[in-house]
Amino acid sequence: MNMPLTTLWVVPLLGAAVCALLGARAKIGALIFSMIFFGAASMVAWISHATPGLSVLNEIGPVWAYGISYRLSADSLSLGLILLTAFLNLICVAASWELKVSAGYWACFMALASALTGVFLARDLFFFYVFWEATLIPMFFIIGLWGSSNRMHAAVKFFLFTFSGSVLMLLALLALVSAYHRVTGIWTWDLALLDASTLGAAAPLVFWGLVLGFAVKIPMFPLHTWLPDAHTEAPAAGSVMLAGVMLKMGVYGLLRIALPLFPSLSYDALPILGGLAAFSTIYGALCAMAQTDLKRMIAYSSIAHLGFCLLGVLSRTSQGLTGGTLQLVNHGLTTGALFLLVGFLYERAHKRGLSDFGDLASRAPYLAFFFGFSTLASIGLPGLNGFVGEFMSLSGALSVLPILAFAGVLGVTLAAAYALPAFQAVFWAPAGPDSVSAKVTDLDRRERAVLWVLCGLMLWIGLAPKPWLAWFEPAIRGLVR
């Protein structure tokens, strides 16, 4: 087969179709297809990594009206994020194995994985936009159908909020394409050809349109308020995909489109964007401190974590960019693990308030161990993955705009102020009279296996980050200022 990249997004889509057809046994199809997907992604990544001269894979298809063409490409950034998608997809399938859900659930997850893969592969902006919007549909159903009590409100809010962001992005893309046509007479949506200088005076407008579209997805303060609701109501696996991969689309869009097309504008915007990112780290942490619901707390902590990614990426230094990109993966693993653990708690006790539990360290030691481990990774304990990304992002930010790094370091300090009290309330404090701790049984073998894999990766990245950083370096090298 000489279309490896097409295979990558078609396999999960095929999986979705098979799941839908299988009916009651859909989860077996989901498992098989997510394994094939992960295997295929690893293989493509390995081939591109091991073969000299193949560090960027390309597939160019036919050109249609208005210059729309089927054009896929994968460098180490794309492949890294696709691997993350495939990995988390597999984790989600394994973690949801015992859920009593219809075939649609599994089909939605496979379709989501397919659309996400497409986003990371597409180099034609038309297809990029199509895949981008396509991710919304399965996620809308995942939240709206299999979420908790207030799911419809959260699903609609999620959809409308991020959709309005995407519309801004679409307008910006249309402006970009038509300006290129006006100046050169050529219709194209090819990212490699398009040139922002054709925009003339409209460039800042288009740049900010793109940035707003991406910022909603990231989500950057003040466009974040859809996230806590969506996370809180989504099923655990939905939260994992949402936090683990969907939020990364925003940063990916910046890295892939906004920064390369508008190098000087993005540099001028650094005080504003970087300021918002640095503020996000503090604001997210403060909001997380005020939460009484575990999932809401983790959702707000995501806002803070993505702030670190942005600080690194926007600094446009090599350590900031590699650190910020690695932080995308780190956040996927750590926050993914935390959401899964809260999901396991919720499956058992149908509660997720901080004060609904207590004494779980004695009753469910594995749960406590994994939760504690992931919490430490999340607050940036050196030796675990979070520290690497945070340290390098902050180091990058410091060399560009020191005040941002100061704020970021304050954000690191504050992270412990929400994570540890929450851990103590759930696992250490004695169980109160209304506590549902008695319903919480410890993790079974399957759940433990999932978490061993996640925590093992956190430790691996934390202890030996060099190969992981080196993986992303070629892709971001061109962005270093």
Binding site: K157, F161, P222, T225, Y283, L286, C287, A288, M289, A290, Q291, Y300, T317, S318, Q319, L321, T322, G323, D359, A361, L376, L381, P382, G383, F387, V388, F391, M392, L394, S395, L398, S399, P402, A405, F406, V409, L410, V412, T413, A416, A417, Y418, L420, P421, Q424, F427, W428, A429, P430, A464, P465, K466, L469, A470, E473, V480
Partner: protein
């Protein structure tokens, strides 16, 4: 030097504890949890032997500093993982491993039968490993790694008995305060990367000695001092340490003597070539140390809980180390750090033995009295360690404290007076503790029903530590040599550093000064006499004076704790306001209301579209007219 030439002992420093912890976690904890301590005790022995082996190596001039592998890299930015085995490092390492191992042995007896025995030993050893890593790190990022690991391990140990609310609170307080300090260290490390492009101590010393000026150095120095203040419990961040005694007693002993609070002083020792370049910063360190030492000594004299007295005593002694550092006496600070490790570990374990004998988690001066007869071995150990702490000739503490007093004396002014007052204060609180606990009993004290001597596994390690405390004065010369070796740089020798560090050729410790020694001893005698007067000749005094204004002042550390609590409340109020009001009610509320706004606008506009053809025609005419006007103009 290549990794192949690194002595086996250096590898074992890491390999033994890591193996023991992994084996304990994956095998022993499942198979035979009550034996988890066995591999760990073996690891302690290996580490101690290795540490002494390396110390001997360094003593004979074979120190080394080596990058083992590159930990992280991006572009020109890189962080290495390496080993630095030099004078100050191994001097502290030898003490930490020896004292730490004895505390491990003690813990095997003390924690026996606790349901969390296995968990305790694994985290305890992790704590130990983290400190070893901190002492042998060769760059700031690596040091930060182990610095944080020390913090996490201490959090888990202080909160070990998590069913107690006080333990949970103390653990959180300890971790958060340290986190506030880590703000300084992380910032300092980032600034060092920015300013110097490297984080290796060795290369930084070279750069510092080059005589160039570095704009960011004052800020870096300040951040480092801030970090050290948190870890080594100095004013204004000292308040977490006295509460941290909520952990099991071996934890307190390890934390106070070897693995935690000394890290801050060690950080400053490592950074001294940088800090000493900053105008006025050493002076600030000296003042922080002096004020903390005196304040904590005064408060220690008023506390009733045995471990709390010792905790404030630790704060006070760390202050003395800071004072020595601030007066540019790196060697003296290290010397006192090592001697302090011995006597403080011994004292904590004595307090542990007393609590153990009373079958309580902790003991109070109200609980006990007259233990001299029933607990002979503990009494003997306590006396030896207490005399060393008070600085009575010829016990170990005399030499190190005398050197600090001497340095302060030479500096003159208020710091000299401060040093003398601390000497009197230390003697007062430790003799008060000695008299109240071991002599008596007084009518106010509950009679300890059947206080009995501890088992050998609890008694013997304590005796060894106490003997070490008594004899530590003999270490004066070797430590001086270690510091000279370490501070001269590695391995080629950096003569320039002597100038930077203000180190004269050989003698690092001040010459023995009769005036200071006599005056210091006089102060100790005064303190001891005051303690005797108030406890022995007036046995009820300690119970009579309590309850007044003075008590409330001491309880709140002269109001400082109230201030800290207020700060914490402010931060959590800000967080609650941001999260619940600003974000949820106002901002998200506004966004959610767009739904209503749209619906309202729709309803308002609907009134103009009620299906009357006349209206529509008029609108059409108006619109066309407008367009025509625009086009024709």
């Amino acid at each position: 030097m290549t990794p192949a030439q690194v002595p086996l002992a250096a590898w074992l420093l890491y390999a033994a504890p890591v193996t023991a912890i992994l084996f304990g976690f994956f095998v022993m904890r499942r198979v035979k949890p009550e034996w988890t301590h066995l591999p760990i005790l073996v690891s302690c022995m290996i580490v101690t032997a290795s540490a002494f082996w390396l110390a001997a190596d360094v003593y004979t001039g074979h120190s080394f500093d080596l990058n083992l592998f590159r930990w992280a890299a991006a572009g020109t930015f890189g962080v290495d993982f390496g080993l630095r085995v030099d004078g100050p490092g191994v001097a502290v390492l030898a003490m930490v491993s020896f004292v730490g191992s004895l505390i491990h042995l003690y813990a095997a007896g003390y924690m026996k039968g606790d349901p969390g025995f296995s968990r305790f030993f694994l985290v305890f050893h992790l704590f130990f490993l983290a400190m070893i890593g901190l002492l042998t790190a060769n760059n700031y990022v690596q040091l930060y790694l182990f610095w944080e690991l020390v913090g996490v391990a201490s959090y888990l140990l202080v909160g070990f008995w998590f069913h107690k609310e006080s333990a949970r609170k103390a653990a959180l307080k300890a971790f958060m305060t340290n986190r506030v300090g880590d703000f300084g260290l992380l910032l300092a490390v980032l600034l060092i990367v920015l300013q110097f492009k490297v984080t290796h101590f060795h290369l930084l010393y070279l750069k510092a000695a080059s005589g160039a000026t570095f704009d960011l150095l004052p800020l870096i120095g300040l951040c480092l001092v801030w970090a050290a203040c948190a870890k080594s419990a100095q004013f204004p961040l000292y308040f977490w340490l006295p509460d941290a005694m909520e952990g099991p007693t071996p934890t307190s002993a390890l934390m106070h003597a070897a693995t935690m609070v000394t890290a801050g002083v060690f950080l400053l020792v490592r950074s001294w070539p940088l800090i000493s370049l900053v105008e006025g910063l050493p002076h600030l360190v000296a003042w922080i140390g002096g004020i903390t030492a005196l304040g904590a000594a005064i408060i220690a004299g008023t506390k009733k809980d045995l471990k709390r007295i010792l905790a404030y005593s630790t704060v006070s002694h760390l202050g003395l180390m800071m004072l020595a550092l601030g007066l540019d006496q790196v060697g003296v600070a290290l010397f006192h750090l090592i001697v302090h490790g011995f006597f403080k570990a011994a004292l904590f374990l004595c307090a542990g033995n007393i609590a153990h004998a009373l079958h309580q988690p902790t003991a109070n001066v109200d609980d006990v009295g007259g233990l001299q007869k029933s607990m002979r071995l503990t009494y003997l150990s306590f006396v030896l360690a207490a005399l060393s702490l008070a600085g009575v000739f010829p016990f170990g503490g005399f030499f190190s404290k005398d050197a600090i007093l001497d340095a302060a004396w030479h500096h003159g002014g208020p710091l000299a007076a401060l040093g003398m007052l601390v000497a009197a204060g230390s003697a007062f609180y430790i003799f008060r503790m000695l008299f109240l606990t071991f002599y008596g009993a007084r009518p106010e004290q509950k009679q300890a029903p059947h206080a009995h001597e501890a088992e050998p596994i609890l008694g013997i390690p304590v005796l060894f530590l106490a003997l070490g405390a008594a004899l530590a004065g003999l270490l004066k010369e070797p430590i001086q040599r270690f510091v000279v070796i370490g501070m001269r740089g590695l391995p080629s020798g950096l003569p320039e550093l002597n100038l930077v560090l203000n180190l004269p050729g050989e003698p690092l410790l001040p010459h023995f000064n009769w005036v200071v020694a006599d005056l210091g001893t006089l102060m100790v005698a005064l303190g001891a006499f005051a303690a005797w007067r108030l406890t022995m000749s007036d046995p009820g005094f300690d119970w009579r004076w309590r309850g007044g204004f003075a008590e409330s002042m001491f309880e709140s550390d002269f109001g400082y704790k109230i201030f800290v609590d207020w700060l914490v409340r402010c931060v959590s109020w800000i967080a609650r306001f941001t999260g619940r009001v600003l974000d949820k009610a106002w901002w998200d509320g506004l966004i959610e209301s767009t739904n209503d706004i749209v619906r309202g606008a729709g309803a308002a506009l609907a009134s103009s579209a009620q299906g009357r053809v006349n209206d529509y025609l008029w609108w059409m005419v108006a619109g066309t007219a407008l367009l025509l006007g625009k086009v024709l103009r």
